[in-house]
């Protein structure tokens, strides 16, 4: 028993009170990383000894020196009686898609393998100012393009701590795995179609995608600029609230960040769910899935334990005084992935044009005739399959000849998706929901390599989550049990614009009420393996 088993909130309280040293917290978390993480993700990986199969591989880079300097500063502040900040002494890992001065920031891509940004993302700067210790950079799908974290150019990719033969989900897979394996209590991720919530669900942790604009995108390497959202991953709801409190708020460096005041998320947690209206939708108990040859949509059942978990969570909330509203129609939920296939690819292609081997990052070593060839060869060598595919798809569906058919249509369907949520949350409408409860994912974590080559199936892993990105609303995934294979099940609450406080409150109420549930006492396999050693 050491500080790795403490929550972020417990660490902060003890460090601030001078009862616990920030350096001790740091060293114990570094020791945990050494015990469970194995070799960090790297380019051109040589063959690995079999024992590495049992490791988590959450990190690309552990920033030991940076974190030690920060821990020293916290200790000095505590010794001088100064305020060390609301996250004093709490280790935080950062998805390697955020620029952090003093680190290499790779986006999991060869094309940025040597990129050392001369500035720090606003969200990371806020964590640092709040006294957090930056432990390192976690692995991810290349440029965040995926739902399993296997597509990183930096291998080995992260493994699911609950069963290392299964994926972590993605793209914030390293972040979710690091939190689940007690390597860090908090991690900063990003969510464009589900990239915080889906890996949180697969790894049995809490992940929150805030309202679009609630957290700054400055210093985040862009995927889909109208969809991207930085947010917290944590082991419990109050830690997610604590971290969001630090991340949220307007940023003069991001014109889309919101000037809405930030409420006190922690204070709201204890208000309970009595009188809240929680919806369940029949449009979220299955998925619509296309035949990839004909494009005909068929209905597919999801793993039965997912629907079972939703019903059990609803019962718990009802027993706490919430009102469960059944049969909330969300008829456009099924269009979420086709719409996303268009919008996110157009935005991704646009954002990837800047990587050309001229101003930073990878440049081909081959002799080239002219600048155009330099671009082509550099991009051919620097990008993996996913960025290449997304550029091609994005350019095709936004080309002048097809834009009206695909891109403009997708933007209008996006309005329909948004309208479903507006109707559900409308305080004068028929449903008047405070939150909508759904499964987070259609299945628990799938096996490694099982889906990787099928880019349509991989994308459908985000069917339940992507609506929040289209609509811009907040959503949180929390653990709600284990399936018969012992893999975590996640459920999700969608909330109305800027009502992170309410979905955190609902999630907290469920978490507290099930604190003693037998499944919460189970320990991930990767931790048991490390103990045996």
């Amino acid at each position: 028993m050491n500080t790795t088993s403490l929550s972020a909130l417990e660490i902060v309280l003890r460090v601030r009170a001078g009862e616990l040293s920030a350096m001790q917290v740091l060293e114990e978390h570094l020791a945990q990383i050494a015990a469970v993480d194995g070799i960090p993700g790297q380019l051109d990986l040589p063959a690995l000894p079999p024992r590495e199969e049992q490791k988590v591989h959450a990190f690309i880079q552990v920033t030991t020196d940076l974190a030690r300097q920060q821990a020293e500063q916290i200790e000095a502040k505590v010794a001088r009686g100064e305020d060390p900040g609301p996250l004093a002494g709490v280790p935080v890992s950062i998805k390697d898609i955020f620029c952090v001065q003093g680190t290499t920031t790779t986006a999991g891509s060869r094309i940025l393998y040597n990129f050392r940004p001369p500035y720090t993302a606003t969200t990371v700067a806020r964590l640092e100012q709040a006294g957090a210790l930056i432990l390192g950079k976690t692995n991810l799908d290349e440029f965040t393009y995926g739902s399993s974290s296997e597509s990183s150019a930096f291998q080995p990719h992260p493994n699911n701590p609950w069963n290392t033969q299964h994926v972590t989900g993605g793209s914030s897979g390293g972040s979710a795995a690091a939190v689940a394996a007690y390597e860090t209590p908090l991690s900063l991720g990003t969510d464009t179609g589900g990239s915080i919530r889906q890996p949180a669900a697969f790894c049995g942790v809490v992940g929150l995608k805030p309202t679009y604009g609630r957290t700054s995108r400055y210093g985040l390497i862009a995927f889909g600029s109208s969809l991207d959202c930085p947010g917290p991953l944590a082991r419990n709801v109050s830690d997610a609230a604590l971290m969001l409190q630090v991340l949220a708020g307007a940023d003069p460096k991001d014109s889309t960040s919101s000037i809405q005041p930030v409420p006190d998320y922690l204070a709201a947690l204890a208000e309970g769910v009595r009188g809240l209206r929680i919806g369940i939708s029949p449009d979220y108990d299955h998925i619509a899935y296309p035949d990839t040859e004909t494009g005909e949509m068929g209905i597919q059942a999801i793993q039965p334990e997912m629907n079972q978990a939703v019903r059990e969570v609803a019962q718990v909330l009802a027993s706490l005084g919430a009102e469960i509203i059944e049969n909330v129609p969300m008829p456009n939920a099924r269009h979420g992935i086709p719409t996303y296939f268009v919008i996110s690819r157009v935005e991704a292609a646009s954002n990837l044009h800047r990587f050309d081997g001229v101003k930073y990052g990878y440049r081909t070593q081959k002799p080239v005739q002219d600048l155009t060839e330099l671009y082509r060869v550099t991009r051919a060598e620097g990008f993996g399959l996913q960025p290449k595919l997304r550029i091609l798809m994005g350019m095709y569906v936004s080309a002048a000849a097809h834009a009206a058919h695909y891109y403009q249509k997708a933007l209008r369907v996006r309005s329909l998706i948004r309208a479903d949520f507006e109707r559900a949350f409308d305080p004068t409408g028929p449903y008047r929901l405070d939150a909508l409860l759904t499964p987070t994912t259609p299945t628990t974590a799938f096996r490694r390599k099982e889906v990787l080559r099928d880019t349509v199936l991989m994308q459908y892993s985000d069917q339940m989550t992507v609506g929040a990105n289209h609509a811009g609303i907040p959503a949180i995934s929390i653990p709600a049990g284990l399936d018969p294979q012992g893999l975590p099940i996640g459920v999700q609450f969608f909330g109305n614009d800027f009502r992170e406080d309410i979905i955190l409150r609902v999630a907290y109420a469920y978490e507290q009420a099930t604190e003693l549930a037998p499944w919460r006492q189970e320990i991930p396999q990767a931790l048991r393996a490390a103990e045996v050693k």
Binding site: I259, F341, R379, L392
Partner: protein, 106 residues
């Protein structure tokens, strides 16, 4: 109606426009996946939608920061930016010759 499949020829043109190069294996795999993804988005064209539904560029109505005054704020360390360049000389980025119109490879 749009063509259902991206042909080899169309695909190669797209690859050139995207400033990419693909080997044979990558090319076949990516063209297959692209066609599968286009099949998956086919349903978009079949969704009935009222004339008055506007496109959404963002989900929520952005109430972002008001515009800043247009003031020049120099970056404190421009040399740190230049130092990232694969090749630079006398504080310029160095690139190979820029092809003239008509001379371009393809």
């Amino acid at each position: 109606m749009l063509p259902e499949k991206i042909t080899r020829e169309m695909f190669d043109k797209l690859v050139a426009l995207a400033a990419l190069e693909l080997d044979e294996e990558e090319s076949e795999y990516l063209r297959t996946e692209l066609n599968h993804q286009l099949a998956a988005v086919k349903e978009l064209s079949e969704i009935p939608i009222d004339e008055d539904i506007e496109p959404s560029l963002h989900g929520i109505n952005c109430q972002g920061n008001p515009p800043r005054p247009d003031e020049w704020k120099p970056f404190p360390d421009p040399d740190a930016i230049l130092a990232l360049a694969p090749e630079s000389r006398e504080r310029y980025f160095v690139v190979p010759d820029i092809a003239q119109p008509g001379q371009e490879g393809q």
